[in-house]
């Protein structure tokens, strides 16, 4: 344990992190957001998912600093009378959970299939890539409608609310894995005939070890870049699904569905319903992107050697 810590302390990763202000700031913001999300019940002033605490007569109150605003609701309330601050914190938690969960699932499936397809090649490759084609030709909405129809028959509407989060992770995860598989496969094909792989093969390492320990680290940079985009995508997909009645129940809005529901009010003057969650989502996606950029530079062996 101590040795690992020592190694980490003297690693290039930490070294470059401590010299990169943007990375440090992004990391701090990300940690803050994730902590806030995780500690939502402790941090937020109200519990917006508890319907008995909402009063319709508080609906569409502007932020506290405006004339009609109330001190009780710092950033105002939405159309149902939910406190915006609390709803955003709870929504952020959901969005982090769904976004990261779905991307992890996508990445696991995608990397596994991409590695095998790229390294083994031949018929296996052809088969797996056609599978990916088929998957890509299904829009995720169709997958979502299909899976949620089965879910609903199996569990009924009553249980649906509880199962919505894992369901969304599975739907979004399953529908987007080919993005990873394609990218990984391409870089594996580029890597597998290089000298270091040949060398590994010559000293008699088995295939699994070569794939995981030698080739994968050299392809991981592209995974990180895609992941940053995919997290944002997953959050968007979730908002779209929620609108169609296939995602989160309307009584538990995520950040995405909160933004969407605010759209129709933006012209009518109630701008805060969509602007504040929008800013939060932009910040969230931006810091992930910045961290991804930095990580790509650090992990890129070519850049490392050059430096």
């Amino acid at each position: 344990m101590k040795a690992t810590w020592q190694r980490f302390k003297s690693s290039y990763l930490l070294y470059s992190f401590r010299r990169d202000k943007v990375a440090m700031a992004s990391f701090a913001v990300l940690v803050l957001l994730i902590l806030t999300g995780l500690a939502a019940p402790l941090v937020s002033p109200y519990n917006p998912y508890d319907p008995s605490s909402i009063d319709i007569m508080n609906s569409e109150l502007p932020p506290a600093w405006q004339d009609a605003g109330s001190r009780a609701f710092l950033l105002g309330t939405d159309v149902q009378g939910r406190d915006m601050v609390s709803t955003m914190i709870y929504g952020l938690r959901l969005s982090i959970l769904i976004g990261c969960g779905a991307v992890t699932l996508q990445a696991l499936i995608g990397i596994f299939i991409g590695l095998i397809a790229g390294y083994i090649g031949g018929k296996v490759d052809a088969l797996l890539m056609r599978l990916a084609d088929i998957q890509l030709s299904f829009p995720y909405l169709m997958v979502a409608i299909f899976i949620s129809a089965i879910f609903q028959v199996a569990f009924g509407i009553g249980r649906y609310a509880e199962l919505a989060v894992p369901l969304l992770i599975v739907i979004i995860g399953l529908s987007e894995w080919p993005v990873y598989a394609r990218t990984i496969r391409a870089s594996v094909i580029g890597e597998k005939n290089k000298e270091y792989v040949e060398a590994a093969r010559v000293i008699g390492l088995n295939r699994r070890l070569i794939m995981v320990r030698h080739i994968l680290p050299n392809t991981i940079t592209s995974v990180l870049v895609i992941s940053t985009i995919q997290v944002a995508n997953a959050v968007m997909s979730e908002a779209a699904l929620s609108f169609l009645g296939l995602g989160m129940p309307v009584t538990k809005p995520s950040l995405g569905s909160l933004i969407r529901s605010g759209f129709e009010y933006i012209f009518s003057g109630s701008w805060w319903i969509t602007i504040f969650p929008g800013i939060l989502l932009v910040i969230f996606v931006l810091v992930i992107n910045l961290l991804g950029d930095w990580l790509r530079d650090v992990l890129n062996p070519k850049l490392y050697k050059g430096a």
Binding site: I56, Q80, G81, G245, V250, F267, S270
Partner: protein
């Protein structure tokens, strides 16, 4: 040469302005385009609006929900089954043909053939021509709503619509999908005739020079109808002056329109009631009248109207809106959280229970938001509601399958009469007769059934109204459903349009009578 051209052009320009001085053009932006020029192809609000512009009914509704003579000048009940109509003389169709009793007979027979109108005209036996300007309309059983139904009879030009068109199809064929003569030709007696039409893009109407109603104050000479589907775009079109009149106006934009100096906002109480039904077959709790009452007491429907609907609806305590025969002033909206809690306690359900609910999210104005508000209101009496909302395309299948314990439905009476609500929404569901077809609450009270059926054939209107009022009272005491509100119709118009006199509960703006200043 050049000089001559300039002189000529200026003369033309002056002439053009001269003729424009008396011309009043009205540009209308609605959310949907009428599907056809044939009024019998579809039973929908949009088609009936068009019928009032291009055709004329025998009688029509006024703002006070009384009957106004149009093509029928007088009517008289001869016996329980027959009503005699005296038709207006000297009326001409757009084609130039004179309007006679034959056209009324032709139209009623065509209505009975139309897939959409067949059901409504089922009680009708037929039309007997007495002379050129007198007809007897008979029903199979004594039928109280004969005059209500006469508002659906828009006489069509029987001569114009007979024979065959160039495809060899009879001109009076009612074709839902595909070409037909009536799809793009019309000859009615109405204030406007259609001069240009491109489906879904633009329809141009011009005032019919031979229109019979010389007393009509209307001065619109040309009307251009453009469908604008997007709410925000429609509002923007009105504010920028691209159109003079829009409907509907989304509630969230009411303040914007009110604030604008060039346009006015008009609302008119409509007849569509929004309700939530509690399924007594699925949940034994809902069989207890105290639980149903507690739920109704817990719903702050006045609050919903004030906040979510922005005051664009009328709070309801019953099915029938004011003006309907069955409207019972004693059934007032009730919201009393203390009483709701007490009732739950009396029912032994202080700790509450969990149930499911479904609602559409694009069918009624703010339907999804209303459903969400229900969840938080019922949470206050410890009833936990698991809500699922979905687009209307999926919703009605789920509604019919009764997948949830509580289901939302809105209803507008086709006959503008209270009986229609009870027949479809609260009578005991019966697959054979079709009564209670949309009663997903499975509320069943033999007395309500008896009264509703009796009211159908009671031709003494006073007695009938008393029956209908009694039904409302029973439903109120039984808390048969959760009433929310009647949606208002909303219109936005430029300041020089005198819109107030031409709007009504049915959402049929009578543009023939519109005055532009």
């Amino acid at each position: 040469m050049k000089k001559m051209m300039i002189v000529l052009l200026s003369v033309l320009l002056i002439a053009a302005f001269g003729s424009l001085a008396g011309a009043k053009t009205l540009k209308v932006g609605l959310d949907a385009d009428p599907v056809s020029l044939d009024p019998h192809v579809q039973l929908s609000g949009g088609m009936l609006q068009l019928s009032h512009w291009v055709f004329d009914p025998l009688v029509r509704w006024t703002q006070k929900m009384t009957f106004e003579p149009r093509l029928a000048t007088k009517w008289k009940r001869i016996d329980d089954l027959t009503m005699r109509f005296y038709l207006r003389k000297g009326v001409k169709f757009h084609s130039g043909n004179p309007f006679t009793a034959k056209d009324v007979k032709f139209t009623v027979e065509r209505l009975k053939k139309s897939v959409d109108f067949k059901g409504l005209f089922e009680p009708f036996a037929g039309v007997k021509i007495i002379d050129d300007h007198t007809v007897d309309i008979t029903t199979k059983k004594p039928y109280a709503l004969l005059l209500n139904m006469a508002t659906y009879i828009f006489p069509m030009d029987s001569k114009f619509y007979s024979g065959k068109d160039k495809n060899g199809q009879p001109k009076d064929a009612i074709v839902k999908i595909g070409p037909s003569f009536a799809l793009n030709h019309e000859s009615g007696t109405g204030p406007f005739k259609v001069t240009y039409r491109e489906q879904g893009v633009k329809t141009v109407f011009e005032r019919f020079a031979g229109y019979w109603d010389k007393k009509s104050p209307g001065n619109v000479t040309k009307m251009i109808l453009t469908p604008i589907k997007e709410d925000a775009t429609r509002v923007a079109a009105l504010l920028s002056g691209d159109v003079d009149f829009i409907s509907p106006v989304p509630p969230q934009d009411f303040m914007r329109i009110k604030r604008d100096a060039n346009v006015n906002l008009f609302t008119y109480p409509g007849g569509r009631i929004i309700t939530v039904q509690m399924n007594e077959k699925r949940r034994k709790e809902f069989r207890d009248v105290r639980v149903r009452q507690a739920i109704v007491y817990a719903i702050n429907n006045a609050g919903i109207v004030k906040t979510i609907m922005k005051g664009t609806a009328t709070v309801a305590g019953q099915q029938s809106p004011p003006g309907y025969a069955g409207h019972n002033p004693a059934c007032k909206p009730r919201y009393d959280l203390k009483k709701a809690r007490a009732l739950m306690k009396a029912a032994g359900l202080e700790k509450g229970f969990t149930c499911t609910m479904i609602a559409p999210n694009n069918r009624y104005v703010n339907d999804e938001k209303i459903a969400q508000a229900v969840v938080s209101m019922l949470a206050k009496i410890n009833i936990k509601v698991n809500l699922k909302t979905m687009p209307k395309a999926q919703y009605w299948d789920e509604f019919d399958a009764q997948v949830a314990d509580m289901q939302m439905i809105g209803w507008h009476s086709d006959t503008e009469d209270s009986g229609n609500f009870s027949e479809f929404l609260v009578m005991c569901p019966n697959k054979k007769t079709g009564y209670g077809q949309y009663n997903s609450g499975n509320y069943c009270n033999p007395e309500v059934d008896k009264l509703t059926l009796a009211a159908q054939s009671e031709t003494n209107l006073k007695k009938r109204a008393a029956m209908l009022k009694k039904i409302e009272k029973i439903l109120y005491d039984d808390a048969a459903f959760i009433p929310f509100h009647w949606q208002n119709h909303s219109y936005g118009a430029r300041k020089n349009l005198m819109v107030k006199p031409i709007i009504n509960t049915m959402n049929f703006p009578y543009f023939g009578d519109l005055v532009i200043k």
